[in-house]
């Protein structure tokens, strides 16, 4: 069975709905406590949104030193899928598992609203359910979502197709992110960080199911990569 681990840091606040979204695809989803030193056998790691350590100092700056992050690093290094959503994305950048950084929104205000974005990379464990260029409407809710990186990094991300999600236009860019970047991946394509919240758009009752694909992709990935020992 697909095992999904949802990290819990003090101050994270999207863990329940992230867990629920993972359960909806039939995964055995469990929390992983920040003080744990192993991932408890999780095949896929989700780092949910919220305000780990109050976002004090910088969003994600303190969480990246948690004991569990060593295990996440190992998991990522061996190709294991990791998705950071919002604060999770910020933590992955601070932990240098993804390049660049997320700064204060350009209008200096927290922004909570649906935004239109485009899937630009479907060859990841989290976006394979989408087609390249597919438009999605996803909720965002953050104060520090302005993606920045130096020009070499930006060039590399574009050249290697590592921009996973992009705001649909300048007008849709809610935070002043460079190149309208809403989400990126690492060189291996197994570590992905996105600012929008797909777990909040995975149920028709709450308005949209555009985010569900981020989770069904995990199930597809798992079906392809099931370790031999677990095959029935």
């Amino acid at each position: 069975m697909l095992r999904v681990g949802v990290l819990r840091f003090p101050g994270i606040n999207c863990e329940e709905e992230t867990l629920r979204a993972a359960e909806r695809i039939g995964a055995d989803a469990r929390y992983i406590w920040h003080r744990d030193t192993t991932l408890g056998g999780a095949d896929v790691v989700l780092i949910p949104g919220g305000f780990s350590y109050g976002d004090y100092l910088r969003a994600g700056a303190i969480a990246r030193f948690s004991p569990v992050m060593a295990a996440v690093r190992d998991h990522a290094a061996s190709g294991g899928p990791v998705l950071g959503i919002c604060n999770g994305f910020q933590i992955l950048c601070e932990a240098r598992l993804l390049p660049g950084a997320l700064m204060r929104n350009h209008r200096l205000r927290y922004v909570s609203r649906p935004v239109r974005c485009i899937v630009e990379q479907s060859a990841t464990p989290f976006t394979s359910a989408f087609i390249h260029g597919q438009a999605l409407e996803l909720p965002i809710a953050h104060g520090d979502g302005r993606y920045v990186a130096d020009s070499d990094t930006l060039r590399m991300l574009e050249a290697e197709g590592r921009v996973v999600l992009r705001y649909a236009s300048d007008a849709d860019n809610p935070n002043g992110a460079m190149s309208n970047i809403a989400g990126i991946m690492n060189a291996g394509g197994n570590v992905v960080g996105i600012m929008p919240h797909p777990e909040r758009a995975a149920d028709p009752l709450v308005g949209s199911t555009d985010g569900a694909g981020f989770f069904t992709s995990i199930a597809d990935w798992h079906a392809l990569h099931q370790p031999a020992s677990q095959t029935p």
Binding site: G54, L57, I62
Partner: protein, 83 residues
């Protein structure tokens, strides 16, 4: 002449400083020896034209009192450098 004014705006003594607390806590978990105190505020760097350092300082002080610092909660400190 051009001056660079460095302003430090810090939470008033006695007021809770949750950021400072969080940073202190984080540093101690990272194994740094215990610190006496950590406080976090804002740093503002202002480049300005002024006749002399005294004028630069006086103008910056006025800005701090009116705009840059919140007198209810914050104290400020100024230093002026010729640049």
């Amino acid at each position: 002449m051009t001056f660079r004014v460095l302003v430090r705006v810090m939470p008033r003594q006695g007021l809770l400083d949750p950021q400072g607390q969080a940073v202190e806590h984080a540093l101690s978990t990272l194994g740094y020896p215990p610190l006496e105190s950590v406080r976090v505020g804002r740093a503002i760097e202002i480049g300005m034209e002024a006749a002399d350092a005294g004028e630069a300082e006086a103008r910056a002080r006025d800005m701090c009192e009116r705009v840059l610092a919140n007198p209810v909660m914050e104290d400020f400190h100024l230093t002026v450098e010729a640049s």
